[in-house]
């Protein structure tokens, strides 16, 4: 067991855990952040994605010790129902989910994409989200939502 301080969604949080514990379980169980979700534990589906230092990482295979001293953003760090982020608002607008279980991966990876490429083409979006799995088949809505969010970001800027 080790004491580890994490910087999550702009706040410092201390946890006492086995340093080998994947970040996902620490976020979900110790910090009660349910945005990142368990889907495979193998970095194959993207449901556990979080942003670390501006990049999307798979928290299910990242030991918590490797997240020490890095800025981590989870889905909760983007916005809330009361005050959604532009991406979340666009997903609502496009009704871009069915069960919604994969949506953490979609929105987190879309956020990283838009931060790096504010005006992505449809192919850019497909390429960026290709590793993120959705079993309900809401891909086209997700693409529309990201395009909508990109548009609204541009309008603001």
């Amino acid at each position: 067991m080790a004491r580890i301080t994490l910087k999550v969604n702009g706040k410092s949080r201390m946890v006492e855990v086995d340093p080998e514990t994947p970040l996902l379980y620490v976020l979900r169980n110790d910090l009660e952040l349910h945005g990142p979700r368990f889907g495979c534990g193998l970095a194959q589906c993207g449901a556990c994605s979080v942003i670390m230092n501006g990049n999307a990482i798979r928290s299910c295979v990242t030991p918590v010790s490797a997240a020490k001293n890095h800025e981590i953003t989870t889905l909760e760090g983007l916005g809330t129902v009361a005050k959604p982020h532009a991406l979340q608002a666009a997903f609502i607008e496009e009704q871009a989910a069915q069960c919604g279980y994969c949506m953490n991966g979609m929105i987190i990876n879309a956020k990283v994409l838009l931060d790096k490429n504010p005006n992505p083409s449809e192919d850019d979006i497909k390429k960026a989200l290709d590793p993120i799995l959705c079993r309900c088949g809401t891909h086209l809505r997700v693409i529309r939502a990201i395009r909508r969010a990109a548009g609204s970001t541009r309008v603001k800027a």
Binding site: P84, F91, K126, K127, I132
Partner: protein
């Protein structure tokens, strides 16, 4: 918003504010709040002593009485409506669509209705959430209960104002006397916080229950909320991390459990080596009961590590896994069925064949496929003595309750199951395996246990969509007329999912009492009107001495994608043989059913279909393009589809570039909801057609993750165009699973159009495509 309320009962809900109740549905299912109610046990005012509804004879207190209006809905003091339903929203949007139906019938704004779903102690058993039946069956049940409530509210207002009911009108939940607008009263003022204490009628049970048929519901002509694309109430918190899915649910003092199972048939654990996990801190117990083995730990990570590290020596099972897919096909054709069904018989097929000038025959092959839930099975159980509380995303909370009461050998009322949404499950959670695992582990440690299957557990032990084999024959006379259709479907039953004992139950020695439920019979050509027809469906036995990973369950339109794959491919084979346009051939033989023909014509028109036979002129280019068509009718819903594909003749890779679908499901409750379901069905259909097959051999299942069981990804999704055909005068017939049935055939037909090659074995992997291209131009096997 956090719900910290210590104790909320149904009675207290009635007194509470609507806003509070609405927040439950947005920030976690109602059950999360209701869960807390256990601390102050309350009488169950609605519990039935005995209901006699035909064959339905539950024990005392097992079910809410559907003949009590209060079993269905409650009016809050502020006029909010809580509708209680045994149906659950498995991610398809029915929480919203059912609320539309209720709001419409009650004449209240949509936002005022909250759905409380799937709590065995607090909702009526309306049957499991399966077969696209929530809107078609559950919808009218709730509509009638709401209409009965509205009539009762009008009666109360009539007494209050001394005005006849005929003079009353309702708008936004306020009753007014016509001509005297100052005489008005809200639903909340009339009965808010109180029980109706009114009896209604109910006959039959579960899905088939008919509720209050004597009450006249609103005419579709007056609908204002039904038929509009109301936004889904569950989506905003799903996009922000505020939603409570099954694995997010927490019970105080909860431990973490993981089952330990081999990837082949489960025999006996000869030796469980506790020392193999002695180094992992936080392990509470290795649970062993019968052939069940699981680990319980204080933290999730400890449970994961322990389940992985635990050394178990299993005895040799009696049940041998089949060597490969071909061996299963042989078994299908050579084994005596447990059930033979003749779904259609007309004229004299044998005579037609003997007089035919041409006969065609083809065999179509379908593999075992996974449901592939994004969230592997998960449930929480709290077993205390002879009582249990279960939190689960199961499609049948009452089925889970019945299985677990059998498993624990206690009365049904001792088990309470509360629905907490899982990921989309497509039929998989008709078998609630994680709940049973959790019960065994919770019982062993005396504390609540949350079980989360790992990805390999889910891929290997998913009760799969069965392997299937279909043989179709057609006779054609000298004039080129199709005179006979002879169809044989060979399929396995669902060994799980219909109330048969499941995995953990089997492991503790509960034996199955039947052979499982047949895999359906629709989609076998019954939409066509040939002079002589025979449609047979044979169910081949698939129940084994021990639990085996190739166990089976209903998978989205069970059995029908394979059957329609055979039917609509073969119709295309006939059209090609006769050099006829595939749309025209279908129109010529469709039964006198205007709706199916209209859907087919619509999709042809919308997709820019040009009349000509298939295949297209096949060129020598590397990329060949083709188009295909397919149609079906299932439970009243009609999908008609056109696909465009590109075949890379050097790599064998298929790209589905565009899919156009016309869809008729009677009355549409929420158009965007229907579109969403159709899009999803198309994507899952493309995935299952091009990519999906469970791999196995005699040593076990080899598809253990998303690399060994790939599914469709963003770069391969087709463009989709949807044309809804709304028929508000007809009953709603559902959209959650029917659109998928036509996808495999339409892709096969488009590939044939592009290449002249007929693929009859799913999935259409590059390897299979290349092999078929090499063998060109064998189009149909002639007898």
């Amino acid at each position: 918003m956090n719900i910290d309320t210590k104790s909320i009962s149904r009675r207290q809900l009635l007194k509470g504010s609507g806003a509070l109740v609405v927040s439950f549905s947005l920030y976690g299912p109602l059950s999360r709040a209701l869960a807390q109610a256990q601390e102050t046990p309350e009488p169950r005012p609605y519990a039935v002593e005995r209901v006699d509804l035909g064959t339905f004879l539950p024990g005392p207190g097992d079910y809410l009485d559907p003949r009590e209006l209060d079993s269905w809905l409650a009016v809050m003091q502020d006029g909010g409506i809580t509708m209680f339903t045994g149906k659950v929203d498995i991610g398809t949007g029915t929480r919203t669509a059912l609320a539309q139906i209720v709001a419409e019938e009650l004449d209240v704004p949509f936002a005022r209705v909250t759905m409380a779903m799937g709590d065995t102690a607090k909702t009526v058993d309306q049957g499991r959430t399966v077969g696209s039946n929530t809107i078609p069956r559950g919808g009218p049940q709730l509509r009638q209960a709401a209409a009965a409530a509205r009539a009762e509210l009008l009666k109360l207002a009539s007494i209050r104002f001394g005005a006849p009911v005929e003079q009353l009108t309702v708008a936004d939940g306020v009753v007014s006397v016509s001509g005297s607008p100052e005489k008005n009263v809200s639903y909340g003022e009339l009965i808010g916080g109180k029980h109706f204490n009114v009896k209604i009628t109910a006959a039959g049970y579960q899905t088939a229950m008919v509720v209050a048929p004597e009450v006249k519901a609103k005419s579709y002509k007056d609908y204002k909320i039904v038929g509009t694309s109301v936004r889904r109430v569950d989506l905003p918190p799903k996009f922000t991390g505020e939603y409570t899915y099954t694995p997010d649910f927490r019970v105080p003092g909860m431990l973490h459990g993981r089952p330990v199972r081999p990837h082949t048939a489960v025999a006996k654990p000869l030796r469980v080596d506790q020392s193999s996990i002695a180094h992992i801190p936080g392990v509470v117990k290795v649970v062993q009961e019968g052939s069940f083995v699981g680990v319980v730990a204080e933290t999730e990570w400890a449970a994961i590590q322990a389940a992985k590290a635990l050394k178990v020596t299993w005895s040799q099972p009696q049940t041998q896994m089949p060597a490969n897919r071909e061996a299963v096909d042989t078994y299908l054709t050579d084994t005596k069925p447990v059930r033979e069904l003749t779904a259609a018989k007309k004229g004299n097929v044998d005579l037609a064949f003997s007089g035919a000038s041409k006969t065609l025959q083809a065999t179509y092959h379908w593999p075992f496929q996974n449901h592939g839930m994004m969230l592997p099975s998960c449930a929480i159980a709290d077993v205390q003595g002879n009582k249990a509380t279960i939190w689960t995303g199961a499609q049948g909370p009452f089925t889970t309750r019945d299985r677990i009461s059998t498993m624990m050998n206690v009365a049904k009322k001792n088990v309470e199951v509360r629905y907490v949404e899982a990921s989309g499950c497509y039929g998989r959670l008709t078998a609630d395996d994680a709940a049973e695992d959790a019960v065994l582990m919770s019982r062993a440690v005396g504390k609540p246990v949350r079980v989360q299957w790992m990805r390999a557990d889910e891929q290997v032990w998913d009760p799969k969509g069965p392997q299937q084999l279909t043989v179709v024959r057609a006779a054609i006379d000298a004039q080129g007329k199709v005179t006979a259709w002879d169809y044989l479907d060979l399929s396995f039953p669902w060994t799980e999912s219909q109330g048969t004992p499941q995995l953990a139950e089997r492991q503790i020695g509960i034996e199955p009492t039947n052979s499982g439920n047949p895999n359906g019979a629709g989609g076998a050509g019954d939409i066509y009107d040939f002079e002589n027809m025979k449609i047979e469906s044979k169910t081949i036995p698939w129940m084994f001495a021990e639990p085996m990973p190739l166990r089976t369950a209903s998978l989205r339109s069970p059995g029908e994608p394979p059957r329609v794959f055979a039917t609509e491919s073969f119709i295309d084979e006939i059209a090609a043989e006769l050099r006829m346009d595939p749309v025209q051939l279908r129109l010529a033989y469709l039964k006198n059913d205007k709706r199916i023909s209209e859907a087919l014509r619509t999709v042809a028109e919308q997709s820019g279909w040009t009349e000509r036979p298939s295949p297209a002129r096949v060129s020598s280019e590397r990329i060949l393009k083709g188009r295909g068509v397919a149609v079906d009718q299932r439970g009243g819903s009609i999908p008609a589809v056109v696909a465009e594909v590109e075949v890379d003749t050097s790599s064998g890779k298929i790209r589905v570039t565009r899919i156009t679908m016309a869809y008729d499901c009677g009355l549409i409750i929420n158009p965007d909801g229907v579109r969403n379901q159709i899009e999803g069905n198309i994507m899952q259909g493309v995935s299952r057609t091009l990519l999906e097959e469970v791999n196995f051999d005699a040593t076990g299942v080899k598809s253990v993750d998303w690399v060994s069981y790939p599914v469709l990804r963003f770069q391969d999704v087709p463009d989709v165009q949807i044309h809804l055909i709304n028929r508000p005068e007809l009953p709603a017939t559902g959209a959650a699973e029917t659109p998928i049935v036509v996808i495999p055939a339409v892709i096969a037909n488009a590939i044939f159009d592009a290449t002249g090659v007929r693929l009859r074995e799913i999935p259409f992997t590059p390897e299979r495509v290349l092999n078929a291209l090499k063998a060109r131009p064998a189009i149909t096997q002639r007898l």
